[in-house]
Subunit: 386 residues, 4 copies
Amino acid sequence: MTDLAAVKAALRTQAVETPSWAYGNSGTRFKVFAQEGVPRTPQEKLEDAAKVHEFTGVAPTVALHIPWDRVDDFGALAKFADDHGLKLGAINSNTFQDDDYRLGSVCHPDAAVRRKALDHLLECVDIMDATGSADLKLWFADGTNYPGQDDLSARQDRLAEALAAVYARLGDGQRMLLEYKFFEPAFYATDVPDWGTAYAHCLKLGPKAQVVVDTGHHAPGTNIEFIVATLLREGKLGAFDFNSRFYADDDLMVGAADPFQLFRIMYEVIRGGGFTADVAFMLDQCHNIEAKIPAIIRSVMNVQEATAKALLVDRDALAAAQRAGDVLEANAVVMDAYNTDVRPLLRELREEQGLAPDPIAAYRSSGWQERIVAERVGGRQAGWGA
Amino acid sequence: MTDLAAVKAALRTQAVETPSWAYGNSGTRFKVFAQEGVPRTPQEKLEDAAKVHEFTGVAPTVALHIPWDRVDDFGALAKFADDHGLKLGAINSNTFQDDDYRLGSVCHPDAAVRRKALDHLLECVDIMDATGSADLKLWFADGTNYPGQDDLSARQDRLAEALAAVYARLGDGQRMLLEYKFFEPAFYATDVPDWGTAYAHCLKLGPKAQVVVDTGHHAPGTNIEFIVATLLREGKLGAFDFNSRFYADDDLMVGAADPFQLFRIMYEVIRGGGFTADVAFMLDQCHNIEAKIPAIIRSVMNVQEATAKALLVDRDALAAAQRAGDVLEANAVVMDAYNTDVRPLLRELREEQGLAPDPIAAYRSSGWQERIVAERVGGRQAGWGA
Amino acid sequence: MTDLAAVKAALRTQAVETPSWAYGNSGTRFKVFAQEGVPRTPQEKLEDAAKVHEFTGVAPTVALHIPWDRVDDFGALAKFADDHGLKLGAINSNTFQDDDYRLGSVCHPDAAVRRKALDHLLECVDIMDATGSADLKLWFADGTNYPGQDDLSARQDRLAEALAAVYARLGDGQRMLLEYKFFEPAFYATDVPDWGTAYAHCLKLGPKAQVVVDTGHHAPGTNIEFIVATLLREGKLGAFDFNSRFYADDDLMVGAADPFQLFRIMYEVIRGGGFTADVAFMLDQCHNIEAKIPAIIRSVMNVQEATAKALLVDRDALAAAQRAGDVLEANAVVMDAYNTDVRPLLRELREEQGLAPDPIAAYRSSGWQERIVAERVGGRQAGWGA
Amino acid sequence: MTDLAAVKAALRTQAVETPSWAYGNSGTRFKVFAQEGVPRTPQEKLEDAAKVHEFTGVAPTVALHIPWDRVDDFGALAKFADDHGLKLGAINSNTFQDDDYRLGSVCHPDAAVRRKALDHLLECVDIMDATGSADLKLWFADGTNYPGQDDLSARQDRLAEALAAVYARLGDGQRMLLEYKFFEPAFYATDVPDWGTAYAHCLKLGPKAQVVVDTGHHAPGTNIEFIVATLLREGKLGAFDFNSRFYADDDLMVGAADPFQLFRIMYEVIRGGGFTADVAFMLDQCHNIEAKIPAIIRSVMNVQEATAKALLVDRDALAAAQRAGDVLEANAVVMDAYNTDVRPLLRELREEQGLAPDPIAAYRSSGWQERIVAERVGGRQAGWGA
């Protein structure tokens, strides 16, 4: 029997970090469709993020991306966030948009390019010091497009060297989160293609280095919740980059493509102690064609709904069925939780917290969208451009 | 026993069409790395294409992409091509880079957007009339990102309507080539996702409508040569868009990722009568990080090498082994051709045609690259931008 | 607003066909694990199927597989079914378990083998005449393992010839249902690998030939509901073989791997008119490690739940959002139906029909499992063996 | 410039281990096609393996599979091998064909089953002591078919416990080689699904534990040579199970599906020092439809040809191009080696070693096939049956 009060208590502790760049324009290699009302500055992104938190109650932090969110005074930006009820979250580095990075950044054959990339990573730690961010999130677009283009193993050596230098720079309470990605933008080999590679590097670096699981960064058919369970078992799961995909790194709203998978992932997080531990739940999405703020609200709600379902799993009944080798009953226990409609529970929870029960409707009737469309005219809309 | 003279004779008839856009800049959604010496105009693209043909002898036509290659006077452009030893090839439409096309073009729910897209397609036929191009190549980025976003079947109705209107506009000797693509830029459903969908539309349209096989547009594990054989058997194979990929639509140099697959495809083309029939062999690639002109020369050579190997298959021995049910021997006959090093044969062929035996070396020593780097300064480099 | 009475009325018409072979033993190439109580005869399979229908109310027909279900008197078997409240459904041919079929059946290079296979197919139509079955379901294991092993196109010619001969033999009210499969047991090329190939053959054969969609027979990432919509639009969707998979043709319980996909498929069936038309909903599963009868009951219920959710989609609201180009709202309408817990509705429906609200519990307390375990001792358990 | 004498010298040191089970019957879940002349005993398998070594000169060892190759006196079997010019190679355990293993072996929820499985693994080490085999190769079919069926993390604990017990039993000069597999026969989660999981276990066990890369055990699109390079860099690559596949674990002849991939793998082996180190090159294939002995000869030759090509890579020229960031030139250096026809070199090498230049032809004219077909009549043909 599941204890509903405990489920609600757990849900009250949940926090989903939204990424500053999801509020700006994004697209595919074919086209970036601009949307009205998109922020022009890091501050405007934070204003939008504050709305997401206002209506969901579970999105209190915002990840920054450097240089997209570079400001002169990061302390002031942290204060701005604080004034809007937010904290600044992970600092995300960018070593893929400078012309020098055509053949890689920290894995580049040229030491000068590697040095430039490393300097950027170290700068990101400086920014963490200024913002009070605990996490440095590293994703490298490094890789090769053609067999032979570069030496796969030498690139690992260069990567290890850069990571060690950054690791040495981390202060107390700061972590390095290393992300892996199956492919794109490199097409033959990426330098951190899978969790095993990220894990092996983090293991050598030490306890402050952990792995990021981006749910869109795997080969077709990969059992992501197995990886989650394994990394938790090894103490090396640092964070999620949530999004969903049908094919590659589609970066759609989390839960949109395979909500059952999201539920299974959240179940393993909870089962493995990751829900109460230091695992960060971040979104990393691109709202290429849909309205951005409501899409982010929906995504946060999708994580919340999957979490609620995972919390509802009757773990005693499950353990009993597993011990008995009753395949159908064990599966049925899990499916029973998944098939439950948790939306009434979450509406109730929101009302208990003084929130509107339907965050999307509340946002739509708040007038914010109309206001930003009217006010954010001129200037340069935020996007992936450096 | 294979007749080497016949192989050479067949190779002399080969023609590979290069795409104007491969000479310009391209990239991923993360970054477009600009290269020095890249063309600024359609004319400069043709100058580069002329070099590819000059050194390979088998790249006599160039595909255009509208609006990227829009000029005031297409007749003059055709004349320019002719003066450079080239002909203008397929006209490629673009209904994906206008803000109106956020939710599709000919499949868009709004009739006004559909009309705009159709007008563009009809304009492309006008351009064909002016350039003397025989082929209209249609690839639609249309699709949906989220379940429910639009009605899958209604979109097919709209697509069929637009195709019928374009088909009706085709003149004598003009074809419509319909391309399919598994995913990207749409992530949930593309409106022409597979050869079956393209085939079903072409069948209803009539004999002037045929299917384009882009070798990068399939689900993982798809047996492309089977599709080639099937479309040839049905009389519906119109053209190839050649490129290679490890994962998705990587658009790498054809033959770079899986040269054995390219050989198998060319074998089915030859076996199915496609080599002598009206099948167009086009490249559609992105040279994001490698030098563009030599990459295109290499790609043309890769097609040539795969063709030579496919022509070398001892078809009598193969048929005998197949009839006898000798799996190993039949496979060995095919592998024997594939394992042959055909580069000496092709060097010999080039010399017989008055060409340098090594096109890459010849290009490198020609001074062209240095010249365009020096001369093409200023202006706006060609790329995918509308 | 969805009309609940109409939803219930539609659900009352639903029929899911269970396959005789799912009641017998099955396994992987590594091991077939025998289970206690498994049927030894076609009659015992029908007894089990009768239980599934008794407790679910929506499984009134049973598919046979020849020769696994060969009996001396098929008329008597039909009578036996009738006496147990069932009808005999589709006749499934088997041209893959005779030593002669090592290199194929109707596509085999040797005409004698092809003739033998054809004779078997024609015998299956004879059986249909005896059982009153309307559907001949054809799945061919034909294909090749190595490039060059056989001529891909010649095999299509042989296939077409056999299909034409069988088609000519069909009587009034009889259909040929042609199944496609991406791979397995052939590994290089299967002779009917995709819906396009099956469609092209059926189109030439005529209106009695239609395509079977087995939900486990696609390349990774394939959008199955798109195929469903397309085949319905073309009038060529004949039947489903339902099951679920994470990787290949796993043949797990339908709805177990991706329940959201099953819902999307059922939505397209309903939207395309397939729910009221002559589309047969069959299971084709292997219960390798779980108890067979309750697994089949669960599978039938999963189809029913997905159907109920699909019927709940507010199609007016959906159409309005689609017309308006409101991506998030259109998706939300679909997700709202999917997120609904339909189990109370289905329990209510069962009670209205005089059934127990929980079919699994009812089966478990019926004593049937204990009885068959006790009684079905000795003899040869049914399985895939010829 | 590549030193041909050094290439030949390296090739002379090559050894490929053939698996005893590849000489017996195998098949898919649909059918095992028996072949004439197939061995009935471990001794007859060794006789066939001796022929493969006789004609290729590079297949001096044979892997055993327990219990398929169980004999009363393993010392005598080793002597029998020795008398036929062979050594016994790796001992392969089997914990998947007993009815007790329906829900797993060392990961089973029931401690009694785990104990039984562990006892089998320990028995395999006993056999190693008797045969003088250095390698214990462990592949576990363990996994789950349905979400919730068992606890993913608890299964890892059980696995770790069993591996530790086996590891403790290993003598000097004995290794444990742990194999991973993406899926099959388990369909939801396999307990060692990827190299990262195998690596993490081996790391904890110690230096005698290393990872086996089976080339057919990966997700679609996985860059296998990257894994090879990484494991070599970490000192954890123990062995290969070579085979090839188009889709899943097809177990076709190595080099048959993607010879370029095999070449790239061999290049990374050589580059990473694996060719001279203790990496075992084993075949693990199923010759379901083709003649077994010549298929194995062909497979050995395919490995040899890929090795020769990889040895031919001009590593100085490659390193120079890589350092210069010349993508096309670096790729060209690799492709130049791959495109070389190494068959004349290998024929020459064989003749220098007193072998026939064409092993397949030599086998065919040796009369062995006719002899075993004639003599091996009656008895029970070897296969996967326990």
